[in-house]
């Protein structure tokens, strides 16, 4: 935080725009990658932008009440708020935003906000598919949150800090990524990311053939457009968080300076997040869908073990 509100506002707008653009392009790339894996040509990379424009251009929208209106907005706001507490680049003027000591704990709470808002909105539509989807989603959260929290706690113990900026600073000062310093915590977090992205085999929430897209089944037109925007931004949030925590983050306050430095940092960020994003995507291409209890049981087995091992590693090998 610099204290100059104009710079902060510019930073917020820039960060949100960056997250939106990158997130939407990643969504398009995912569709392209899936198409190529199925020996298809696939849609153009910018297809998601066209979809969004079309959805926002719908002339009628059916609503079921106030909370149905608010749910997509809630998802969007939760995604942008979570984004603002993550240092997208280390150092520099615009992209660190509101990062503060203890933001890691704050983010843990903030990251489930969107799902909860969505659950309230879906409840009002009264669609049974939506209700089943929400109950599955909350079950899945109880699955992947536990290894995720364990891995974060392991890092907090190992480095005696709850600040993302401190962790990034440590990694860039020593040149050792936390993925190497505590590999078990990294593994547990990676498994949790698989669950967070809701791609196969964990696409039990919005399974199109089973639940008619679950929670989203009653949201069309502009609501769906807002949900799509929120989802894209939130995908970027998750990727940046894992990159910051385990893969050294991007940007450098001393080495990368000036406009060229910011650009170089963004390129580094895009490369790292893209490689990370390809993990859930490529697993999603080849995997069929789990049932709900299989998914939860999966997270309570190996990822949980890795999380516990990460804590032991943090306590004894430090």
């Amino acid at each position: 935080m610099t204290g100059n509100w104009l710079i902060e506002l510019t930073g917020i707008v820039l960060t949100a725009l960056l997250a939106f653009t990158v997130g939407m392009f990643y969504g398009g790339l995912r569709r392209k990658v899936i198409a190529r894996a199925q020996n298809r040509v696939g849609p153009p990379v910018y297809q998601n932008f066209l979809d969004l424009l079309k959805l926002q251009g719908k002339t009628t929208n059916v609503t079921h009440g106030l909370m149905t209106h608010l749910a997509p907005v809630w998802v969007l706001v939760a995604a942008i708020t979570a984004l603002l507490f993550i240092p997208v680049l280390h150092g520099g003027l615009w992209f660190p935003n509101f990062t503060f000591k203890g933001d890691l704990i704050f983010l843990l709470y903030l990251m489930v906000m969107g799902s909860l808002g969505m659950a309230l909105g879906v409840g009002e539509t009264g669609n049974p598919n939506g209700a089943i989807g929400v109950s599955r989603g909350l079950s899945l959260i109880t699955g992947y949150e536990i290894p995720f929290v364990l891995s974060l706690v392991a890092i907090m113990i190992q480095f005696h800090t709850t600040s993302l900026t401190d962790l990034m600073h440590y990694q860039q000062a020593t040149g050792h990524w936390i993925a190497r310093e505590n590999p078990f915590a990294f593994l547990a977090a990676l498994f949790s990311v698989l669950g967070m992205f809701h791609y196969s085999p964990f696409d039990i929430i919005g399974a199109p053939a089973e639940l008619a897209s679950g929670p989203m089944s009653e949201f069309g037109g502009k609501y769906l457009g807002s949900l799509m925007t929120g989802g894209s931004i939130f995908a970027f949030v998750k990727l940046v968080l894992i990159t910051d925590l385990f893969l050294g983050g991007a940007g450098h306050p001393d080495a990368y300076t000036g406009a060229a430095g910011v650009l170089l940092g963004l390129v580094e960020l895009v490369i790292k997040t893209f490689l990370l994003y390809m993990i859930p995507v490529s697993i999603g291409i080849v995997m069929p869908r789990f049932r709900t209890e299989q998914a939860v049981r999966f997270f309570w087995r190996w990822p949980l073990l890795f999380g516990a091992l990460g804590i032991i590693w943090a306590v004894f090998w430090k």
Partner: protein, 215 residues
């Protein structure tokens, strides 16, 4: 043994009767009679129509045998997704309602409800001969013969049954109509609701639709 012959006497309808029938049974919402508002907000409409035509969420209502052509159109062999056409899970999210084949009067009821749940602008693609004139079910007692008496149709794809190439050709026609501002009949349907409701109630015997719809 006397020969009995069933002789049906057919009287020619008068000119007045023909004219009245033409007015009564002509489909209400067609592309020809539309006044498009391209002159107002030209640029915005152009961009929106461009996005609309390249992003068609398809709700394939698999009523008849034609449903088997849709998976082939959407998957690897013909890959409709490269044109921006992808399946939608629910009517709320869908842009295109595709009626694949004959419609029994029982199914027509569901189709009408699905159509009314979709959000504007919405398009209907009628697939196969059965939706045009009844096809091989032309004398069936419980299928409808012409779909556009009951819901407005944008594009017909003729054939029994049309191959995926024909389906893609039909979508190309729909895209052309969308770009010119000539597709999407939701507004017209609401305007002529009395006429459509009268036709629908003629064939649907156990009519139990709610009077007021939340579109």
């Amino acid at each position: 043994m006397s020969e009995t012959k069933d002789i049906r006497i057919i009287t020619r309808p008068t000119k007045e009767q023909i004219r009245q029938a033409q007015i009564d049974f002509a489909p209400r919402c067609t592309a020809a009679g539309r006044v498009n508002d391209k002159e107002t907000q030209k640029m915005v409409q152009y961009i929106l129509n461009f996005a609309r035509k390249h992003s068609l969420f398809l709700l394939a209502y698999g009523t008849g045998c034609g449903a088997i052509e849709i998976p082939a159109t959407l998957t690897s062999r013909y890959d409709a997704e490269r044109l921006g056409i992808r399946g939608a899970a629910t009517p709320r999210q869908a842009d295109v309602l595709m009626i694949t084949g004959y419609l029994s009067t029982k199914t027509l009821k569901r189709v009408i409800r699905v159509y009314e749940q979709m959000q504007d602008p919405k398009y209907v693609v009628a697939f196969g001969s059965c939706t045009i004139n009844g096809g091989m079910y032309f004398d069936s007692y419980n299928t409808i013969k012409a779909l556009d008496r009951y819901i407005p149709v944008d594009v017909y794809i003729a054939g029994c049954m049309p191959r995926p190439e024909a389906v893609l050709k039909g979508f190309a026609k729909l895209q052309e109509l969308i770009q010119n501002g000539n597709a999407g009949n939701g507004e017209c349907y609401r305007k002529n609701l009395d006429w459509y409701r009268a036709n629908q109630q003629k064939v649907i015997k156990n009519w139990d639709f709610p009077d007021e719809y939340n579109w």
